[in-house]
């Protein structure tokens, strides 16, 4: 679904109008857990297909909650949320798995299944999508090699270091070539070299058309990704609205 839309900064797109395809649309989104106070308030933004976004903000600002909305682990308590052009705020529960399969998620706590090997953890999205074992074997081996864990394929998460677990989690998130990749502090447990490699993986995927949203405190990561856009949250609300979409994907010449 292509539609004409504007950035939150309202007509400041360097004097040009663009037709962009939004992959994520938040309209007046609010989120509260139970009867507590709202942890996210009045979020209005759109993320364009093929964009690379950093989500920043202090601890407790609502980054993880926002990511949960993005990977459909949570429904907004108010407002309109659309992903891939489909309104999902009140979508039937049974329709959500199909959308989740188009999203790759790197959780802050990795969320690896402890009793499965690294290979099985990475293969899980493919198997859930119905891939045969023949279709699983090659891509999983390749992906494990890419994150430097070819020789650890049969190791279980408890026997892996924090950094290795994180790489398995990233491999699992991207194995299905997701249209939207959501990562919560993906470089928090890896050394600088590995962080650079992972960022390269993300930008490569982004170059192939995947929209990437990374929540991070790592200023180095942000500065190493020229052209990426930034969403800043504070106290559950977006601030620095002009920051978002300052560099739409087309301007980076990547798509």
């Amino acid at each position: 679904m292509a539609r004409r839309w504007d950035s939150p900064c309202g007509g400041q797109l360097l004097g040009r109008e663009r037709v962009l395809t939004p992959i994520v649309e938040f309209d007046s989104i609010g989120l509260r857990y139970g009867t507590g106070a709202e942890v996210l308030r009045d979020l209005d933004f759109r993320l364009s297909k093929g964009g690379f976004y950093f989500l920043t903000g202090p601890s407790g600002a609502g980054k993880t909650s926002l990511l949960k909305l993005l990977y459909l682990a949570q429904r907004p308590t108010r407002g309109r949320l659309a992903l891939f052009g489909e309104e999902l705020s009140d979508a039937a529960r049974d329709s959500l798995p199909a959308f989740r399969r188009r999203i790759g998620v790197v959780f802050q706590d990795f969320r690896l299944i402890r009793h499965l090997s690294a290979f099985d953890n990475v293969a899980l999205p493919l198997r859930i999508s119905g891939a045969s074992e023949q279709e699983v074997e090659g891509p999983v081996r390749e992906m494990l090699a890419w994150v430097g864990l070819a020789d650890r394929a049969s190791a279980r998460p408890p026997t892996l270091s924090g950094g290795e677990q994180q790489r398995v989690a990233i491999a699992r998130a991207v194995i299905n070539r997701p249209e939207l990749l959501v990562a919560d502090e993906p470089t928090g447990n890896v050394d600088a070299d590995m962080a650079k490699r992972l960022l390269h993986l993300f930008t490569t995927l982004n170059g192939l058309g995947t929209t990437v949203v990374v929540a991070t405190h790592d200023v180095g990561l942000i500065s190493a990704t020229p052209g990426a856009q930034m969403i800043r949250l504070e106290n559950g609300a977006m601030i620095d609205r002009t920051g978002l979409l300052k560099n739409p994907p087309q301007q980076r010449g990547e798509h």
Binding site: F99, R100, R101, I113, L116, A123, L124
Partner: protein, 289 residues
């Protein structure tokens, strides 16, 4: 329909548990054992009641109040009556033996008047009132007693016990289903993390349910077979050793149909457990986002 039954090795690894690793198989084994014993007792009672009812349905006794003097003439009259078969006089010695049980040695006293008794069977469709009329002519004051009336309370008790056995089977089946629901919820709780990850990656409720349904089906099959084998051994022991069950193997008390019903109980319980597990897992998963 039976996709859930077939899982790849990778799918089997997802729950990371082996069969017989939890209490479910053992609970189902105990339930199966209890249900089979109760069901066997109920079926044996049903068979006994049926045989007693059939045996006494057409059986009558004629009581001649003034003793043996009129017995031969009365017996002859009964035998000549249309619709009567197998008319036999009860020997006086047998009558006195019965009386002795109630009266002690006085029952054998020669001066104790003993009523004469004739047993006969009425053919199907026979007019018992007409028979009784002819008897009155041959032996005034003779009384015809239908065995089904005198054994009625016993038959009613047997039938009541059958219903009790049936109700117990249903109750135990319900308890088995409840145990499976608890086991399914426990398993969901144990594997909550795995389920959350699977859901997050795009697994459907049906995919998750299939894993649990298959695990519980295997546990239930193993448990019900163990319970079934134990119950069969106990029934064989009873049949071989106890007098009341002495006819079990001969088929007098448990027929082929009864044995087939008993043999199907483990399979029925496995099916019940599998169905209940699927419903329980699906309904629990639907409470998640």
């Amino acid at each position: 329909m039976f996709d859930w039954l077939f899982a790849s090795p990778a799918e089997r690894r997802l729950l990371g548990t082996r069969p017989l690793s939890g209490p479910t198989p053992w609970v189902i084994a105990i339930m199966t054992f209890s249900i089979m014993i109760v069901a066997a007792a109920g079926l044996a009672l049903a068979d006994t009641a049926s045989r007693v009812a059939t045996g006494v349905q057409a059986r009558y006794s004629v009581q001649i109040p003034d003793g043996n003097a009129r017995l031969p003439a009365t017996l002859q009259a009964i035998r000549a009556t249309p619709g009567v078969s197998n008319a036999e006089a009860v020997p006086e010695a047998d009558m006195r033996q019965v009386l002795e049980r109630w009266l002690g040695p006085a029952g054998a006293a020669a001066d104790l008047p003993v009523p004469a008794l004739i047993n006969f069977d009425a053919r199907p469709g026979a007019d018992v009132q007409a028979i009784e009329g002819r008897l009155q002519a041959a032996a005034p004051g003779a009384k015809v007693i239908a065995h089904r009336d005198s054994l009625g309370p016993l038959l009613n008790s047997l039938r009541a016990l059958q219903w009790v056995a049936g109700a117990l089977v249903l109750l135990l089946g319900g308890a088995c289903a409840a145990a499976v629901v608890l086991a399914a919820r426990g398993a969901l709780d144990t594997h909550r993390f795995t389920i959350e990850v699977m859901h997050g990656i795009g697994a459907t409720d049906v995919q998750v349910t299939n894993l649990f349904q298959r695990k519980i089906a295997i546990d239930a099959l193993i448990g019900s077979l163990l319970g079934g084998i134990a119950a069969a051994l106990v029934l064989l022991g009873l049949a071989a050793g106890a007098s009341f069950a002495g006819e079990l193997l001969g088929g007098a008390t448990l027929g082929v149909t009864d044995l087939v019903i008993l043999g199907l109980i483990p399979l029925a319980l496995t099916g019940l457990a599998t169905w209940v597990a699927r419903r329980a897992v699906l309904s629990t998963l639907r409470t998640a986002i």
